[in-house]
C-alpha cells in the first residue's frame, strides 16, 4: 500500500486584509485575507518549514528523495531542493530535485511520487509565492504558502495514513495564464475562455479518477477543487456530484490561492480533519486537470499534525498594504544608510553547511558546554576536538535579553535581536522574525525558523532566525536533541 505517511501545510504569519487595497488605490482588493510571506521568506524557506512540520510526527522516516515543486523558484539553474535537504540535515545519499516553473508541477510531483510504488519514501515539497501588479486580481486572490507530503509504502513505524486509491490527469494545450521568464506578473486570457476549457477537462479527470479508484462520487467525504482560475474551480465543484458538505474550504478566503503549493495545502487541511476510512480527494486545474483520491487508514487516528493548517490560519497578524508592497518589491522604500551586506562566500558556506543550514552546533563531551556555532576548542576546560554534534533547530529557547536595532541594515527595519538560551543548553544571539517589536520581553519562548537573511550578488543568504513560540510549530516543542 502506497500513500501519504505524513503531511503538513505552512502558512506564513502575515495577512493582508484585501480591503486595504481599495482603501489605498480606490479599486482592487476584495473580501477576506491572503497570507503573505515575510520579507525573509521565499519558496525554499517556506518549503523547509513545511517539511519540518511534516517530518515531526514521524521521527523514524528516512526519505530517499526530496522533491521541490514551485512556480517561483529562488534560483534557476541551481537546485533549490538541496537547501531544503541541508536544512533538514539529510544525508548525502538522499536525492534532491526541483520540479520547476509551472503551477501544475505541484500536483505533478505528488502524482509521480504516489504512483511509484516500491521506490522508497519521497518527501514532496510544494511552495509558491503569488502576487501581481497592485490592484490586480492575482494580487488579492493569490497567497503564499507551502506544503510537504511524505509519500511512501506502508511500513512499521511509518504507516500510511492515507492510501492512494488512484488518480487521473487530463492534458490540454491552451493559454489561460502565462508568464515569461523575468516577468513580474502573470497574464491571463479572457476569463470565460478558460472556464469553458477547465470545467469539461476537470469533469473528465474527475470521472476517470473515480473509476481508477473504484469509488463513486457519493462515497467521497472531503474534496477541494483548486486552481488559479477561481470561477472554473467553483463551477467544477458544483458538478462533482458529491454529497452536501463534502466540498471543503479551499482556503481562498483566508490564505488565498497558493499556486503550485495549493493542492498540498488543502490536502493537508482535509487530512487533519479526516477520520479513519474516509475518502479524500483533491482536484487541481492547471493546463488540464489532475485528480488525486485517497482513503484514510486506521493509522491516521494516531497521527497528529505538528501544527495544523487551521491553527496557522488562526494565528496570523495583519500586515499593512504599504509593507506588503515594499516586501514584494512593488514599492522601493529608502534603505537604511548603512552598507549593504556583502555576498556570502560559497566555500565558507559549504564548509559550514551543518551550522548554516542545519543549525547544528557542538557539545563538549568533557564539560557539556554547548557551542553555537560549532567549535573545536571548548570554552569550558579547553578540551580540543572532543565535541559531538548539538542540533538546536528543533529546540525551544528563552529570551535572555533583547534589543531593537534601528540602524542595522535590514530589508525591513528595525532589526529585533535577542540573546537566546536553548533548552538543554546553548546560548546564541540571533535575529527575531514574525514579531511585533513592542511585544518582545525577556523570558519569552521562541522557536527557530529557517529564513533568508538577504540577497547579495544574486546569492541568497539562508540562515536561522527565531520567532515567538505562539506563532511557531510544535517543531519547537521537542526535547533538546543531539
Amino acid at each position: 500500500m502506497r500513500g501519504i505517511v505524513s503531511i503538513a501545510g505552512y502558512v506564513p504569519y502575515r495577512r493582508l486584509q484585501r480591503s486595504e487595497v481599495a482603501k489605498f488605490f480606490g479599486t482592487g482588493g476584495g473580501k477576506g485575507t491572503r497570507a503573505v510571506a515575510s520579507h525573509d521568506e521565499d519558496t525554499t524557506t517556506m518549503g523547509v518549514e513545511a517539511a519540518r512540520l511534516a517530518l515531526h510526527p514521524v521521527p523514524g522516516a528516512a526519505p530517499s528523495a526530496i522533491w521541490l515543486a514551485t512556480a517561483t523558484p529562488a534560483y534557476l539553474d541551481k537546485t533549490n531542493a538541496t537547501a531544503i535537504h541541508a536544512a533538514l540535515g539529510q544525508p548525502a545519499r538522499v536525492a534532491a530535485f526541483d520540479f520547476g516553473g509551472a503551477l501544475r508541477s505541484g500536483t505533478g510531483a505528488l502524482q509521480t511520487g504516489l504512483a511509484s510504488t516500491g521506490s522508497g519514501t519521497t518527501l514532496v515539497v510544494l511552495a509558491d509565492l503569488r502576487d501581481g501588479l497592485p490592484t490586480s486580481a492575482d494580487e488579492s486572490a493569490g497567497g503564499d504558502g507551502a506544503a510537504a507530503v511524505l509519500i511512501g509504502d506502508d511500513a512499521p513505524g511509518t504507516p500510511v495514513i492515507a492510501e492512494y486509491l488512484g488518480g487521473a490527469s487530463v492534458t490540454d494545450e491552451f493559454l489561460d495564464r502565462w508568464r515569461t521568464v523575468g516577468d513580474r506578473r502573470s497574464r491571463v486570457w479572457e476569463e470565460r475562455f478558460g472556464e469553458t476549457r477547465y470545467v469539461p477537462l476537470g469533469t473528465q479527470a474527475w470521472e476517470s479518477a473515480l473509476k481508477s479508484a473504484g469509488i463513486a462520487a457519493e462515497q467521497v467525504d472531503h474534496v477541494v477543487v483548486t486552481g488559479m482560475h477561481g470561477r472554473a474551480a467553483k463551477a467544477l465543484g458544483r458538478k462533482l456530484g458529491v454529497a452536501d458538505g463534502v466540498l471543503s474550504d479551499d482556503l481562498s478566503a483566508t490564505v488565498g490561492q497558493t499556486g503550485a503549493a495549493h493542492p498540498g495545502l488543502v490536502l493537508a487541511a482535509m487530512l487533519e480533519r479526516a477520520r479513519p476510512g474516509e475518502v479524500v480527494a483533491v482536484v487541481a486545474l492547471a493546463d488540464g486537470a489532475d485528480v488525486l483520491v485517497f482513503r484514510t487508514t486506521d493509522a491516521i487516528a494516531s497521527w497528529s499534525p505538528a501544527r495544523s493548517v487551521a491553527d496557522q490560519i488562526a494565528d496570523g497578524a495583519d500586515l499593512s498594504y504599504g509593507k506588503f508592497l515594499s516586501w514584494r518589491g512593488m514599492v522601493a522604500t529608502e534603505p537604511p544608510r548603512r552598507p549593504e551586506p556583502q555576498r556570502v562566500s560559497s566555500s565558507a558556506a559549504w564548509r559550514n553547511e551543518g551550522w548554516k543550514f542545519g543549525f547544528v552546533g557542538t557539545r563538549d563531551r568533557a564539560s557539556g558546554a554547548v557551542h553555537l556555532p560549532p567549535a573545536r576548542v571548548s570554552m569550558k576546560g579547553g578540551a580540543v576536538d572532543d565535541m559531538e554534534p548539538a542540533g538546536r533547530a528543533d529546540t525551544e529557547a528563552t529570551i535572555a535579553t533583547y534589543t531593537i536595532d534601528r540602524l542595522a541594515y535590514s530589508p525591513s527595519p528595525p532589526v529585533v535581536f535577542a540573546v537566546l538560551d536553548f533548552d538543554g543548553g546553548g546560548r546564541f544571539p540571533v535575529e527575531l522574525t514574525d514579531v511585533d517589536p513592542d511585544t518582545v520581553d525577556i523570558g519569552d519562548r521562541v522557536t527557530m525558523t529557517f529564513r533568508k537573511l538577504f540577497t547579495a550578488d544574486g546569492i541568497h543568504d539562508y540562515f536561522w532566525k527565531a520567532k515567538p513560540s505562539h506563532a511557531a510549530g510544535a517543531a519547537g516543542t521537542t526535547p533538546a536533541g543531539g
Binding site: 552598507p339 531593537i404 540602524l407 535581536f417 540573546v419 539562508y462
Partner: protein, 396 residues
C-alpha cells in the same frame, strides 16, 4: 609565566593630537602629518631621530606604508597595527615595548582614522568573506543590552537608569564644551539627552559616541633618557591588554552587566603599577565611553566603584571633572567622536595635558595626585578586546 610590565622603564616625551571633527577638507595624510609634526615638535626631534614607528589604523589603510608615505620615512621600520577600537593604544604599547627591549632608543606611535569618507553614518567594519551567519547588528544595539541587564540585576528602575545614563552623557558633553580639540563643544541638557531619537534599544542619539576623523601620536624613549627631551615626561607605569575568547556571546553564564576583559586588563594594570585603591590613587581616568552604559559598567570593571554601586556614584558626581575621580575630563568619545586608530592615543594626550598642568585653565583638573589611567576597548559585550594603561609624572 607572568605579566611583569615595564614600570618606569619607558617615558612619553612628546605628544600631538589634531582636533577631532568631520574633517571634510582633510585626508588621512593631512591628519597624520598634523599629529606627527606636532609630536616631533613637542619632543624636539625630527622624523629621522625616531628609530621605529607603529601606526594604528583600523581601516583607513593597510601596512606601514600608509604612514611612511605621507611622512616620507626612508628605510625605517614602520608597522601597521589593528586591534579593533584599541588600535591606537596598541600602537603605543608596541612602541613602548620596543624601547623597553632595548631594540630602539626612540619609537613613535601614530594613530589615525579617516572615517567620514565612507558616506555612511557610524562606523562600519571591513567585511571579511564569510558564511553569512555572523551577526550584522550595530555596536549600539549590542551595548544597548547592557543597561536593562544592569538595571535588573541591581534593582535600578528604568527611569532612574535613564537619569544615570543621561548624567554620564551630560558630564562628558560639559567637559567637551571646554575642550578646543573636541568634536562637540556644546553643553547638552539632560532633557535634550533623554528626548533624543532612539537608535537601539533604549539608547538615544546622545547615548552614543560621535563619529569623527582625527589623529594623535606619541614619542617614547627609555626613562633615563626622558629629560633629554622634556622636563615633564610621563612615565609608563602599566600597559595591559586582554583579548576575550568570544565565549560571552555563547555562554549562558554571561549576564551583560560587566566586561570581563576590562576587569582582567585593569587587574593586571594595577598589579604592574602597584595600585591598590584606584579611586583614591588616580588623578583622572580616560575610559572608552562608546555608549553611556559602557562608561557606567566600566566604573565597576576598573574598580572605581563596587559592583552595583556605580550608578549611585555617577549621580553623586564622583566622576565629574571636579569630582573625586574625574573621568573623561576631555569629553571622552562622547564629545570627541571615535576615529578608531586615534582614540587610544587621544586618551593618552589628555593625561599628557592634565598631569603636566597644560590643559587650558578652565578645564585643568585640580589635584596633587600624579597618576592617570587610560582604558580603551574594542568589540562588543561578550566578545571584546580591552586595554588599560597607567602613566605618571614621578618615578617610583
Amino acid at each position: 609565566m607572568a605579566s611583569h610590565g615595564i614600570k618606569d622603564r619607558v617615558a612619553i616625551v612628546g605628544m600631538g593630537c589634531t582636533r577631532f571633527a568631520e574633517h571634510w577638507d582633510k585626508g588621512l595624510d593631512d591628519l597624520i602629518i598634523e599629529a606627527s609634526q606636532d609630536t616631533f615638535a613637542s619632543a624636539g626631534v625630527t622624523k629621522d631621530d625616531v628609530d621605529a614607528y607603529w601606526f594604528g589604523t583600523a581601516q583607513s589603510g593597510m601596512s606601514g606604508i600608509t604612514l611612511a608615505g605621507p611622512l616620507q620615512l626612508e628605510g625605517k621600520p614602520v608597522t601597521r597595527v589593528e586591534n579593533y577600537c584599541t588600535t591606537g593604544s596598541e600602537a603605543l604599547r608596541a612602541a613602548a615595548y620596543a624601547v623597553a627591549s632595548g631594540a630602539y632608543d626612540v619609537a613613535m606611535a601614530v594613530g589615525a582614522e579617516k572615517v567620514k569618507d565612507s558616506g555612511y553614518q557610524g562606523l562600519n567594519a571591513f567585511p571579511v568573506p564569510n558564511d553569512g551567519t555572523a551577526r550584522t547588528l550595530t555596536a549600539a544595539a549590542m551595548f544597548s543590552m547592557v543597561a536593562p541587564a544592569y538595571g535588573k540585576k541591581y534593582g535600578v528602575g528604568e527611569d532612574e537608569l535613564t537619569e544615570v545614563l543621561a548624567r554620564i552623557s551630560w558630564k562628558n558633553h560639559q567637559n567637551g564644551a571646554l575642550n578646543p580639540r573636541a568634536q562637540f563643544r556644546k553643553e547638552v541638557s539632560t532633557e535634550t539627552i533623554c528626548a533624543s531619537p532612539r537608535v537601539a534599544g533604549r539608547l538615544g542619539v546622545f547615548d552614543c559616541a560621535g563619529v569623527a576623523d582625527g589623529a594623535a601620536a606619541a614619542i617614547v624613549v627609555r626613562a633615563e633618557d626622558a629629560h633629554r627631551y622634556t622636563d615633564k615626561p610621563l612615565y609608563i607605569k602599566a600597559l595591559s591588554f586582554a583579548a576575550g575568547s568570544g565565549a560571552g556571546l555563547i555562554d549562558p553564564d554571561y549576564d551583560y552587566t560587566w566586561f570581563p576583559e576590562c576587569a582582567h586588563a585593569a587587574e593586571d594594570a594595577y598589579r604592574q603599577a602597584g595600585i591598590t585603591d584606584p579611586l583614591h590613587e588616580l588623578a583622572m581616568a580616560e575610559v572608552h565611553d562608546c555608549f553611556t552604559p559602557t562608561e557606567l559598567v566600566l566604573m565597576e570593571d576598573l574598580g572605581f566603584a563596587e559592583r552595583g554601586t556605580a550608578w549611585k556614584e555617577v549621580l553623586a558626581g564622583t566622576f565629574d571633572r571636579t569630582g573625586e575621580l574625574p573621568v573623561n575630563p576631555d569629553g571622552g568619545l562622547k564629545s570627541f567622536g571615535h576615529p578608531v586608530g586615534a582614540s587610544g592615543l587621544r586618551m593618552f594626550f589628555e593625561t599628557w595635558l592634565q598631569l603636566r598642568g597644560e590643559a587650558t585653565p578652565e578645564r585643568q583638573i585640580d589635584t596633587d595626585l600624579t597618576l592617570a589611567l587610560t582604558h580603551n576597548l574594542g568589540g562588543y559585550p561578550g566578545e571584546m578586546v580591552s586595554f588599560v594603561s597607567v602613566v605618571g609624572t614621578e618615578l617610583g
